[in-house]
Symmetry: none
Subunit: 232 residues, 2 copies
DNA sequence: AAGTGGTCTAGACCACTGC
DNA sequence: CAGTGGTCTAGACCACTTT
């Protein structure tokens, strides 16, 4: 049985996802939700408070609760799944597989993986969108020794992340973050204007001491930001 | 007046900080805290639940609440000192104070700090260089209530970071990372070419539940990257 | 059986905003 | 003024673990 406050959170997420309650718009007040949902105010309050902490809602005492404008929002210290992130905002995730191939590693790539040059690697390039708007390019190389079935997965339904954490428990990760001017192909895929910068996140993950995957994630600078709150 | 659940969180943090309750050790149960602190169980529960969400505590129903083992919290967005970072590379750090002033908070700034509009704030803009090459612009606002001596510090010798951690122990931090096109003044100070993107890191830090400082850090995209390795 | 955390309710008082 | 969110209380029932 899912807790009531979780059901309320899901209920609100669905409304946001369906567009009934759009960004900047007002969400029913606590008392209204108490009446319509039949829960107590403390329970409604918890649901709304948690969604505010998650950055999905925005509250002003004395005024009301609103859907946050900030659409793209992620926690940089976690290795997150883009699909989950989008669904948590109540939006629709879709993925378009641009490239899926087996190739031989060049010198630099082989060095990153710690395998001999000319070893076979899997390569995928996937465009992830939120409500149909491109949000991330995932340019990934995968170690076949760790994930032999990689080429037979339908990445329109399952993200590489979801598949990889299943076959290779995440053990260690390395991140590099840069601001770059995207190349033409990246720019066009993401639907970015010329002269608009991109956020580039390089990530390398290990499982059992072996490099599982390296990935280059491109985000449009105007539509995405990495954010997080933590205790040092 | 700080909310009771915040006071309880601070109380627990102090015990953890002082080493009374070390990693892996058991924290008093909800009922015990209700008795010793005189708060209701819901309030104690909220404090413990939030600290669990923050990764500070670890709870097991039917067993107890424990201080989390923290080894997994090094990540690319640590709050670090630019001067230390440069010195760690064996290079020379220098700082040039561009602006140092007292000003009145506008609406948005006041909102970020959680103070009434027109409250006095300190403002500093400092250019940090590595071996004479500009690397970071630090555009910072500081809460005078927390750091009253801020205006009398020589920031060519001591970084604001070093001063602030001394007067206000860092408790919580919020980060936002963006790729942006810098404005002309930022671009010129950093000696960047036109059309070159910048990495913008916004940070807000808390001490004892009060916002100590907000800062906008600009880095030239071509000369800087954020990197880190951690175990999830 | 006793203790733990997980959840939920039905009240309450407060400071604040809008009219 | 009525409405909003922010907080707090004193109960309650539950599933679970430990003794």
């Amino acid at each position: 049985m899912t807790p009531l406050y979780q059901q309320i959170k899901n209920h609100i997420r669905e409304h946001i996802g369906a567009g009934t309650w759009g960004p900047g718009q007002r969400v029913p007040s606590e008392n209204e939700l108490v009446r319509t949902l039949g829960a107590s105010r403390m329970t409604v309050n918890r649901a709304l408070r948690e969604m505010t902490d998650e950055g999905i809602l925005h509250r002003v005492a004395g005024v009301g609760t609103f859907v946050a404008d900030r659409t793209a929002y992620a926690h940089p210290l976690e290795v997150r799944n883009i699909a989950e992130e989008i669904r948590a905002r109540g939006h629709q995730h879709s993925a378009q597989v641009v490239t899926l191939e087996t190739m031989r590693a060049g010198g630099e790539l082989a060095g990153n993986f710690g395998v001999p040059p000319k070893t076979n690697l899997f390569h995928s390039l996937i465009l992830h969108s939120e409500n149909g708007v491109p949000l991330q390019i995932e340019d990934r190389y995968v170690n076949p020794a760790v994930a032999p079935d990689y080429m037979s997965i339908d990445f329109a339904k399952t993200t590489p992340y979801e598949y990889l954490v299943r076959v290779a428990p995440l053990q260690e990760a390395e991140h590099v973050l840069r601001a770059v001017m995207p190349g033409d192909s990246v720019r066009k895929l993401l639907g970015m204007a010329e002269g608009e910068p991109a956020l580039l996140l390089l990530r390398r993950t290990w499982s059992n001491g072996v490099v599982t995957s390296t990935v280059r994630l491109y985000y449009p600078g105007s539509r995405y930001e990495l954010a997080g709150r933590f205790n040092p």
